[in-house]
């Protein structure tokens, strides 16, 4: 694993992280379009925990993230995010809640007519109307976190796929949100770039203790997250030593046919006897 640059100061303890309350809760959620996609989804994401959402394509993993953000409404069931019931909130009321959540889209979804700086600073510019010196400094700090300080004046079209994904991470974390949602952050990337992005996600998890929900197809990424932690002294991601009891606050969630078929730790996943789970892991 490559090393990452020096870290900004840790975030002060957030009440939402301290009190151990679930930051996201799905309660018997169902959603379909022409056909049902999610049928009976229930899970809780405790504060400070990372949940890795797995399943074959089309099982509704991305929909789960969009439901959590209130971008879509469920047909039935209840969704609570940061103590607010998003499933029944009006679009206008959701905007303030969404400002506390960061989302990394599958294809980055950067604004192609804005520079990297304007993209990363988008939320902050909303408040001031323009890039102030303070915002510029925060943009540089966020870009330093993803090692892309030098791209500040470039446009998204001038970046590689991996760089765009890292800019999307910088954009999501700049306001230090309470929850982060990652939609296949390493999808379609080479192994080296994927490792770099996973290291950034682990760093965000361990340094800032941000609760997150991550969709991924790559088992390697999922198990790397479950078996590594970010060492601040070495300033890089390192594996948890054999026999060590360090809790990496990472659990797995697996969907099949619109239902949750597994929820638990990496060890429990590897020991699961369900035929589908075994086939998925093989």
């Amino acid at each position: 694993m490559m090393s990452t640059p020096s870290l900004p100061a840790e975030r002060s303890d957030d009440p939402a992280v301290r009190d151990g309350q679930p930051v996201i809760e799905f309660d018997h959620v169902a959603l379909g379009f022409d056909q049902p996609v999610l049928e009976d989804i229930s899970f809780k994401l405790p504060s400070g925990e990372t949940k890795i959402l797995m399943g074959v394509a089309g099982t509704g993993k991305t929909l789960t993230l969009k439901l959590a953000l209130g971008l879509l409404k469920p047909d039935s069931g209840r969704i609570e995010v940061l103590g607010e019931e998003v499933s029944s909130m009006r679009e206008q009321d959701l905007f303030s809640l969404r400002r506390q959540i960061g989302m990394v889209f599958q294809e980055s979804a950067l604004f192609d007519s804005l520079t990297v700086e304007e993209n990363v600073a988008y939320r902050l510019i909303e408040e001031t109307g323009h890039v102030t010196d303070e915002i510029h400094a925060r943009v540089l700090e966020a870009l330093r976190f993803v090692e892309l300080e030098h791209t500040v004046r470039l446009f998204p079209a001038e970046l590689s796929g991996g760089m765009r994904r890292r800019v999307a991470i910088a954009r999501a974390i700049i306001t230090q949100p309470k929850v982060l949602l990652y939609d296949s952050p390493t999808g379609g990337l080479d192994p080296v770039t994927s490792d770099r992005i996973i290291e950034l996600i682990v760093k965000q998890r361990d340094v800032y203790q941000t609760s997150s929900l991550m969709v991924t197809h790559r088992l390697q990424d999922a198990f790397t997250m479950a078996s590594h932690y970010f060492d601040r002294e070495q300033n890089k991601m390192v594996p948890v030593a054999d026999g060590a009891t360090r809790d990496v606050h990472t659990k797995f969630l697996m969907y099949r046919d619109g239902k949750v078929i597994f929820e638990g730790t990496a060890t429990e996943l590897l020991q699961d006897n369900d035929d589908y789970v075994r086939e998925y892991l093989s």
Binding site: L69, F95, R98, R99, M103, F105, F111, D112, R123, E126
Partner: protein
């Protein structure tokens, strides 16, 4: 194989009308609530107003010129060639100035809005905006609506003026009319109702152009092909709506001003 259902088709159309009405209504309501995106509005005003100026000037000038040319032979038969100024003036101010400007701006900007917002929609940029707590109807739709309404108002005035100048060029150079006579009849024939009608129409047309362009853009689905389809639909719908609403507004205002 999917079967055609009339019920589904009607439901789909009603849903589209509902979505459009909500978007159009919200675009007005947003003007009275914060945040207001003044810089975005000015940028759109520049793109729509200044950007459309050349085509509006050209269209207006040659419409006025051809109007004078076409009507001169008829007027000459009745010995009323001196009324050319009045005819050009009334036609341009009441009808052709606003409508042709509206159609030109619809072709240029309704399509531009649909393709820009459509591209943002299919690449999840609109979802990203919503995810970051920014209301796309405030950030993207309202600035375009305000800018189009305001700029089309002024573009129509410019179109009327250059149309009159086009008519004058034909009347003076080809028909041998007196300049003073042309401008005097052109000016004196206009009543308050004519000017009111000519200035009300572009505001309605501007509203139609922007809301239709934004609606089709934000409803785009299916990648680049969907964006292309949205662009075409926006121009067609905006143009047809301009012509239809022109008829009803003209009838309403004619009744109001006792024509």
């Amino acid at each position: 194989m999917p079967t055609f259902s009339l019920t589904d088709l009607v439901k789909e159309q009603l849903l589209a009308v509902q979505d459009y009405s909500l978007l159009a209504g919200r675009s007005i309501g947003n003007v009275f609530t914060r945040p207001r995106y003044v810089a975005d509005t000015l940028l759109q005003a520049d793109m729509i107003g200044v950007g459309s100026l050349p085509i509006v000037v050209l269209t207006g000038f040659f419409t006025g010129a051809v109007l004078a040319l076409q009507t001169s032979s008829t007027l000459q038969q009745f010995g009323s060639l001196s009324l050319t100024g009045q005819l050009v003036s009334l036609s341009m101010v009441r009808e052709l100035g606003p409508v042709l400007t509206g159609l030109m701006v619809a072709g240029r900007n309704s399509s531009g809005m649909a393709s820009e917002l459509g591209s943002m929609e299919v690449t999840e940029q609109i979802d990203a905006m919503r995810a970051m707590g920014v209301d796309p109807s405030k950030k993207l739709v309202t600035p375009r609506v305000v800018a189009t309404v305001v700029m089309l108002f002024f573009l129509s005035i410019i179109s009327d003026l250059v149309g009159l100048a086009g008519g004058f060029m034909i009347s003076y150079l080809l028909l041998g009319l007196d300049a003073n006579q042309y401008w005097t009849t052109a000016y004196q024939s206009l009543r308050f109702g004519d000017v009111f009608m000519g200035l009300t129409k572009p505001m309605l047309f501007g509203y139609i152009i922007a809301t239709i362009g934004c609606y089709y853009g934000l409803s785009a689905k299916g990648g680049t092909q969907g964006v292309g389809r949205a662009t075409t639909q926006a121009v067609v719908a905006a143009s047809v709506l301009i012509l239809v609403s022109d008829f009803f507004l003209t009838r309403l205002l004619m009744g109001f001003f006792h024509y």
